[in-house]
Symmetry: C2
Subunit: 146 residues, 2 copies
């Protein structure tokens, strides 16, 4: 039996979710990349640009530009790194911390809107189905890499 309908649904979800997120972020004056960096420094603490490059998969030079933009918006600061004088400690400002809190809240709200009115059994089943898809996908990506 053909399995394409399920894949088409996943693709549809991907498109819809991507558009929705982009719109929501744009309303806060953020792009996906910028929000990714802001999210990182806001949730896992200050980081060097080098670390941010690794975690986001961006080129180090590109991180400089992203951080420039976030500094320009007053969301993060470049503070001297406590131990390494070459490096920079990208730190959220109060405004940046507030925005991260809003991002987290929006994330939880979206989760609730999507899954909130499922009873626990249905939610568990959905979660299991999604985890299964994600696991298979990760296997596939790993195989292709080899």
């Amino acid at each position: 039996m053909a399995r394409t309908p399920a894949l088409d649904l996943v693709l549809l979800i991907t498109v819809l979710l991507g558009e929705d997120m982009r719109r929501g972020l744009a309303a806060m004056g953020l792009t996906e990349t910028r929000s990714h960096v802001l999210w990182l420094v806001g949730t896992t603490g200050p980081a060097t640009q080098q670390q941010l490059a690794v975690e986001t998969g961006l080129a180090p030079r590109s991180v400089t530009s992203v951080v420039d933009a976030l500094v320009g918006s007053g969301l993060v600061e470049r503070r001297p790194h406590p131990t390494d004088r070459r490096a920079v400690h990208v730190t959220p400002t109060p405004a940046g911390a507030d925005l991260v809190a809003a991002l987290v809240a929006g994330h939880e709200r979206l989760a609730d809107q999507l899954f909130g009115d499922l009873d626990d059994g249905a939610y568990a089943a959905t979660h299991a189905a999604l985890a299964d898809v994600a696991a298979r996908l990760q296997v596939l990506v790993a195989e292709e890499g080899s």
Copy 2:
């Protein structure tokens, strides 16, 4: 109970699938937008650029550029429109048709890799869960538009 884990899984799937698709398409010398246009003319038949703009959500001028690129790769042709001399009939070349067939085959292969070893009951459950998520998302997007 928190519903964020399921959303996180959806997000993870989105990212993984997006990367995988981009890599696969790049291996065939295509971008997402170009493959979208090629897919349209390859599966639903020749179209005017105007129609392609509506279906892809691109600006008409951008469709011109995309079609330029596809023509440059020898995948589509600009043929005169049978009835409207202003318009252009974007038609796949034999090479383009072959590539579309490969895209379709890849699509089916991926679906099979992700869902192939589920028995029919498990597949049906997964499909239902995905359809539910997609439906909720569409409601949400529609609400936000209003």
